[in-house]
Symmetry: C2
Subunit: 368 residues, 2 copies
C-alpha cells in the first residue's frame, strides 16, 4: 500500500506544481489518510521539495488496531497539548526556502490560516481547493474491494437483525444491536450513526433513534453502514411490521422501489449526476409524490460517508466508471411515516456488466 499512497502523492504534486505552487499542506483527515495511509488526530501532511512529511500530534506511540502511516513517509510528532501541526508543517516548508504553499481553505479555519501565515511569513499561501477530493472520486480496485467487504458486513448485520423479534423493541436498541453486529463481523465500526425509524418516523432521512417501540402495522426503516479499512458503505431498507401491510403502505413502497430502480438503472459512465437524480425523482412525481422528498437521491461514498458526487437536481458533472454512489430515494408522509430504499453501487460500463450492486439485501417488501 505504501507505493499506492506514494503514487497518489505524486499525482497531487504534479497537479499542484503545474500551477506554480511549490508545496502542499493537507489538513483534512480523509485526504491525509488517502495520501499517507492514516490520519492521526490533529495531523497535517506536507508535500514539498526536500521530502514529504507527516506532522502529527501526540500520543507518539502507535495505537494497535489503527492504521499507521507508511513507514516510507517521514513523520514528526508534536509534544505540546496545544501545538498546531499545520503551523509546524508550514514552518518546515518556509525553512526549506520554498516561496508558496497551497492549503485546504475549505478545511482550515480562519484562525489556523492566520497562524500558518504568521509562522511562515515568507510563504505565499494559495488555495488547494478540492484537489485531493477530486483524486479520491474514482476508486481503484483495492478501494472498491474494501467497500465490497464493508457492504457484506452491513448486509450480514441487517439480515441477522431481521431474524430476531422486533415488536416491542425500541429504535435505540435496534440501532445499537446493528452497530454491535457490524463490529462482530469485522467492521472498524459504524460508517455513520445508524438510523432506525418506526411508525411516523419511518423513512425520515437522518432520523435519530428514539425510545419509541416497534408496533404492529408500523413501517420500520433502517439505514446503516460499515466502515472497513476506512471505507464506508451505506444500506437502507424499509419493512412493515405484522402480517398484512395496508394498501397505502404497499403503494408507497412500490413507488419508492420503482424510483430507486430507475435511479440504479440510470448509473453509467458519462451519465449526468442530475439526470440520475431526475430518473428517480420523476417516478415519485408521477406517483403523486412531489412533497416530502429529500433534496438529493444519492451521494458518493469512500473514505467519507458523504463524498462527491451529489445526485441532486442542482448537481453538476458526470459520473465515471469506478465511482461508488448511493441511490436512496424516499418519501416521508408527515404523521404517517414513509419509505426509503438505499443501496451502494459502483458505476461500471455496460461492457463491465453495468452498475455493480454492493448491498445485496433483498428489496422485496418484507412483512416481519
Amino acid at each position: 500500500m505504501a507505493e499506492t499512497h506514494a503514487s497518489r502523492r505524486d499525482r497531487l504534486r504534479e497537479r499542484i506544481t503545474a500551477t506554480g505552487t511549490a508545496a502542499v499542506l493537507v489538513s483534512r483527515p480523509a485526504n491525509i489518510r488517502y495520501l499517507a495511509g492514516s490520519a492521526p488526530v490533529g495531523a497535517t501532511l506536507l508535500l514539498a521539495e526536500g521530502g514529504d512529511l507527516l506532522v502529527q500530534a501526540g500520543p507518539p506511540e502507535p495505537r494497535p488496531g489503527t492504521p499507521q502511516p507508511d513507514d516510507t513517509l517521514p513523520t514528526r510528532t508534536l509534544t505540546g497539548p496545544r501545538e498546531d501541526s499545520a503551523v509546524t508543517a508550514a514552518a518546515v516548508a518556509a525553512g526549506r526556502g520554498l516561496d508558496s504553499l497551497a492549503v485546504e481553505e475549505h478545511h482550515l479555519t480562519v484562525a489556523r490560516h492566520r497562524a500558518v501565515t504568521a509562522a511562515a511569513p515568507g510563504l505565499r499561501l494559495t488555495d488547494l481547493g478540492g484537489a485531493v477530493e477530486q483524486l479520491r472520486l474514482v476508486k481503484d480496485e483495492d478501494e472498491i474491494s474494501c467497500l465490497r467487504i464493508a457492504a457484506e458486513i452491513a448486509d450480514q448485520a441487517l439480515s441477522e437483525l431481521l431474524e430476531s423479534i422486533l415488536v416491542g423493541r425500541t429504535e435505540r436498541h435496534l440501532a445499537l444491536e446493528l452497530e454491535r453486529r457490524l463490529v462482530d463481523h469485522g467492521a472498524d465500526g459504524p460508517a455513520f450513526a445508524t438510523s432506525v425509524g418506526t411508525g411516523p418516523d419511518a423513512g425520515r432521512v437522518g432520523h435519530r433513534p428514539t425510545d419509541r417501540r416497534v408496533e404492529e402495522g408500523d413501517f420500520l426503516s433502517v439505514c446503516l453502514g460499515a466502515a472497513y479499512r476506512g471505507y464506508r458503505c451505506e444500506i437502507g431498507r424499509t419493512f412493515v411490521i405484522g402480517t398484512s401491510p395496508a394498501d397505502w403502505q404497499v403503494e408507497l413502497y412500490e413507488a419508492v422501489f420503482a424510483a430507486q430502480r430507475a435511479g440504479r438503472e440510470a448509473l453509467a459512465p458519462g451519465a449526468a449526476c442530475r439526470d440520475v437524480d431526475a430518473a428517480a425523482r420523476q417516478v415519485l412525481a408521477a406517483a403523486g409524490h412531489r412533497e416530502g422528498l429529500s433534496p438529493r437521491t444519492g451521494h458518493g461514498v469512500g473514505l467519507e460517508n458523504n463524498e462527491d458526487p451529489q445526485l441532486a437536481p442542482s448537481a453538476m458533472g458526470k459520473l465515471d466508471a469506478r465511482v461508488p454512489v448511493t441511490v436512496e430515494p424516499g418519501v416521508h408522509l408527515p404523521g404517517r411515516g414513509g419509505v426509503r430504499i438505499d443501496d451502494t453501487l459502483v458505476v461500471r460500463s455496460e461492457a463491465d456488466g453495468g452498475p455493480e450492486l454492493l448491498t445485496i439485501t433483498t428489496k422485496e417488501l418484507l412483512a416481519l
Copy 2:
C-alpha cells in the same frame, strides 16, 4: 429553559456591542446549542438588532428525541442541499443595514468566511474569538445537574460491567457493552468513543479498543462517558485481572492514585490551572515517573467533552467555582501497560463543601 438561552444571548450581546460590533454570527455547534437550546446540523445563529435568527439546513421537520430550538427563537430553514446557513445569516444582517458582524474565526473555514464576505459586502467582519466558550466556562446549577445525571449513568454502566466475567472478552466488545448500558440507563449516547485497554495497552490515553482479549494478570483500563441533555461527563478506572496483582502493578497503581488525589485536592476557586496539574505531576515524578505521562492531567467538560480549562504545565488562568473538570493523571509503561484514574468534579469553595465529585465509582484497586 427558553429564558435561560435568551439571557445567555443577552450576555453575549452586551459583550459584543461593547466592542462596537453590531451583530454576531455563531457557527460552532456547541456554542449554538448553548445559546439556542439545540444545534441542528449545519445551523448558524445570528444575534442582531431586529431580532435573533437561527438559520438551519433541512430537514424542516423536528426530529423526536432531539432537542428543539426555543420556540421563542425565530428560525429559517434552507432548502438547497449545498446552501450555507452562515451565508444566509450574514445576508440577513446586511439586509438590516448593519455595518459589522463578529464571526467565529476559530470555527469558520477560510472558504466559508470568504463566502460570507461575498454575500454581505457592506459588512465589516470581526473575530468573535472564544467569547461563547468563555461564557460556557462557569456552569449554572441546571447544567451541573445534567452533568451529575450523566455521571450517575456512567457509574451505573461501569458497575454493571464489573459484575460480569471479563477474562476472554475483547476490548471492542467490552467497549460496545459499556456503550449499550449507557443508553440503557438513559444517556443520549456515549460522550466520546469508549476506550478499553488491556495488558500492554492499559492506561494509554485515547487507546482505541482492539480485538485483544482480557487475560489473567492484565491491567484493564476503561475510560467512558455519558452524554445527558448534551452534557458530557468522563470517568476512567484501572483494574487488575486475577486474584493477585504483581508488586509493580500495586506500586504503579498507588502512585497514580496518590497523584490523582493530589490533583483533586488542589481544585479550588482561584487555583491556577497549572498548579493543579503540577500537584498531580509532582507525585508521579517523586515516584520516579517522568516518562510516559500525558501532556495534561485534566480538562473542562460540558456541552463538549474537551473544553477549557486545560490542566497542563503551560495552561494559563485560574479555576472558578462551578467549573467542572476531569482529573485524570496516568502512567503508561511501554510494553507493560499502565494505570489511569479519571474523575469528573465540579470546583466548589470550601464553604460549599469543596470539590464536588460526580463520578463516585470506587478507586480502590479491584482485582477482578
